[in-house]
């Protein structure tokens, strides 16, 4: 998830939480305030009525013969009742205020009710004054709906503002990511110009990435220099020996046994030379010393390779089955490296094949629309436990005959990863081996 989106979501969420909290507590507070007001009013009224009763007697109010009195206004919002009591529940003068439901003409309404007992003419009376609560509930509902609409409006508006603002704020970060990290394929292409930003963190990040890139670049150049020097230091003595052996072999009257030894030494030297060259090649590819600026037609390339080593196929009487469902031109590739890659795989397929065996080459688009080249043979195969090691440079394993698989497959692996090609291998002992190369989409 993008940081920007996270910011926006977080902001929207936190605002919603705050507004919801206010929404939850506000009605309670409003109710409390309103209740306080009502209660004060009720107490004031009861004081006034008791005062009236004290001054003018109860008869002023009670006209009925049954000595009780009741009155309510037209909307039943307020009522007053005085009823004689037979016994005393609470102490005289105690004021109780609580919510209660009262019935008026078949209508039950919720009121805030004050009740107080008093003594008049040796008769106990109970005074009740009520005030309706429906107005408060309405107020509460109004507040609630107001809060909900405000919430929605605030969240929507703030999401829009946040998106815009965070985009503006994050722009330097995306610049750093795109320009310096994503679009850079090779250390020598590093762009170390500073990204213009007033945000401290981005400045810091930019500066550190620049420093890091410079270090990587330096390390790359040092490695390149090292490879060049190692190349010179290793290959020069090999060169001397090779040429000396050649001159020795041309000596007149060379005894047969000495000639044999020279030939053996040449072979040993050649092995050394090949190993050194293979390691240098791998290092050079990993050091990105090769360009990827060619368009390579994989079918044509495979044909070139086959033309080059086709005689070996014939020599071993191997049947070659070639099938191309799709063609593929690999842009931004290095043709000579890809040639080496295909050559090494096909050469292995020949080398480890049985006489009268078969090699199948199949080029096709796979289910994910990636060009895939599959080269399988009917050769000696590789043990399952050795499969994972065949591309390893250092975890070498040896075939049973004691010879060496060499560095051909590590080279294949290195060229493949240099080009973003995924190489996999499947093999069954005595049945054959299958190499699958999945090319990147263009």
């Amino acid at each position: 998830m993008k940081l920007q989106l996270k910011f926006v979501l977080y902001n929207a969420f936190s605002k919603a939480v705050i507004i919801l909290a206010i929404g939850a507590f506000l009605p309670i507070i409003v109710r409390q305030v309103v209740y306080n007001h009502i209660d004060q009013r009720l107490v004031a009224r009861s004081d006034k009525i008791l005062q009236i009763i004290g001054l003018g007697g109860l008869n002023e109010i009670i006209l009925d013969q049954d000595c009780s009195y009741g009155s309510y206004n037209i909307f039943k919002e307020e009522f007053l009742s005085i009823e004689p009591l037979n016994h005393l529940d609470t102490e005289i003068g105690t004021i109780r205020i609580e919510d209660g439901e009262r019935q008026f003409e078949n209508e039950v309404l919720k009121h805030r009710v004050l009740s107080e007992s008093f003594l008049f003419d040796n008769q106990l009376y109970n005074l009740e004054i009520g005030e309706g609560l429906s107005a408060i509930e309405q107020l509460n509902n109004t507040i609630w709906s107001f809060i909900i609409w405000t919430l929605i409006a605030v969240v929507v508006i703030s999401v829009f503002i946040d998106v815009g603002f965070s985009r503006l704020l994050m722009r330097p970060l995306y610049k750093i990511i795109n320009r310096k990290l994503r679009d850079t394929q090779h250390p020598t292409q590093f762009d170390t110009t500073r990204v213009n930003t007033t945000t401290f963190e981005f400045n810091y990040l930019d500066q550190n990435i620049n420093e890091m890139m410079q270090k990587v670049k330096d390390a790359f150049l040092i490695e390149k220099e090292f490879i060049n020097n190692a190349s010179h230091e290793l290959l020069t003595p090999i060169s001397v020996l090779q040429n000396r052996f050649e001159n020795l072999l041309a000596e007149k009257n060379l005894p047969d046994d000495v000639a044999d030894k020279i030939v053996e030494s040449q072979k040993t030297l050649r092995r050394l030379s090949k190993t050194v060259k293979a390691l240098l090649l791998i290092s050079k590819i990993e050091n990105s010393q090769y360009l990827k600026n060619e368009d390579t037609d994989m079918r044509l390339l495979t044909h070139e390779v086959l033309a080059e080593i086709g005689e070996r196929v014939v020599h071993k009487n191997i049947y070659l089955d070639e099938k191309w469902d799709d063609d593929f031109v690999f842009h931004h590739s290095n043709k000579s490296l890809l040639h080496t890659l295909i050559l090494n795989i096909i050469n292995n397929a020949i080398k480890y094949n049985k006489p009268d065996g078969k090699i199948t080459i199949h080029g096709f688009m796979n289910a994910k629309n990636n060009f895939t080249l599959r080269i399988s043979d009917t050769g000696v195969g590789i043990e399952k436990e050795n499969l994972k090691n065949i591309f390893g440079r250092f975890k070498r394993f040896r075939p049973e005959d004691g010879s060496s698989f060499g560095l051909g497959l590590p080279i294949v692996q290195t060229i493949a990863s240099f080009h973003g090609i995924e190489i996999s291998v499947d093999s069954e002992k005595e049945k054959g081996t299958e190499f699958t190369a999945v090319f990147p989409r263009q």
């Binding site: 290959l235 040429n243 001159n247 090949k274 005689e311 020599h315 090494n344 080398k351």
Partner: protein
């Protein structure tokens, strides 16, 4: 033909000198850039074998200097440095060929001959070997006007043996020449023997080819 060998590794320039002298070249050697420049200035060489990793200067500068001074010598760059750019730069500056170390002296001589042929195109491209006429330009071989159909590899093999006639070429040297050095250590295999067998069969259909000699345990030799 005179050759200047510019190579700071003395034992290597010594081996090259021995080989080329035996092949009839007049050799001169320079171990550093300074003396090389002086020698190029004073003498007129047909060939300059140039190691570009010299201790005192970049060999490419010698090449540039010489070309600017209008030198008509043919340059072959020899290098053990691995930079891919070196090769491109060298050829761009007008070098005639490029050999990466370690190289075979036989290969060096083959390249030198190819350069000579390219430069002096009028030189004849055909020569006789016993009763056969070899045409290098068209890569064909005929016997009394009758074409002998050879595969590309068979022709390369025969041509290489003829080029180095009277010298034993090992299977490895032949393998290296026709396959390059990309392939795995296959020189133990008998591909070369099979090629030679086929070659003999095709040629002897015309006339006797006992001049292609098998040297026991080592390789083959064309006697002429």
């Amino acid at each position: 033909m005179n050759v200047l060998i510019i190579e700071d590794e003395k034992s290597l320039s010594h081996e090259i000198e021995i080989f080329l002298s035996n092949e009839g070249y007049q050799c001169d050697v320079a171990f550093n850039g300074k003396s090389a420049s002086e020698k190029i200035y004073v003498n007129n060489y047909d060939f300059i074998l140039l190691d570009i990793g010299l201790p005192d200067m970049n060999g490419l500068d010698i090449l540039r200097e010489a070309k600017e001074a209008g030198s008509e010598s043919s340059f072959i760059i020899l290098t053990a440095r691995s930079g891919v750019e070196d090769k491109v730069a060298g050829l761009d500056m007008g070098a005639d060929d490029y050999l990466a170390k370690p190289f075979s002296l036989l290969e060096l001589q083959a390249r030198m001959q190819a350069v000579m042929r390219r430069k002096h195109g009028l030189q004849k491209n055909t020569f006789m070997i016993h009763e056969f006429e070899v045409d290098i330009q068209n890569r064909s071989i005929t016997c009394n006007g009758k074409n002998v159909p050879l595969t590309k590899k068979e022709f390369d093999l025969l041509n290489y043996l003829i080029l180095h006639k009277n010298r034993v070429l090992t299977r490895m040297q032949l393998t290296e020449h026709i396959w390059g050095d990309i392939l795995e250590d296959d020189y133990e295999s008998n591909y070369i023997d099979v090629h030679i067998k086929n070659l003999r069969k095709k040629l002897s259909a015309q006339t006797q080819v006992d001049w292609i000699e098998t040297v026991r345990g080592i390789g083959y030799r064309v006697n002429a």
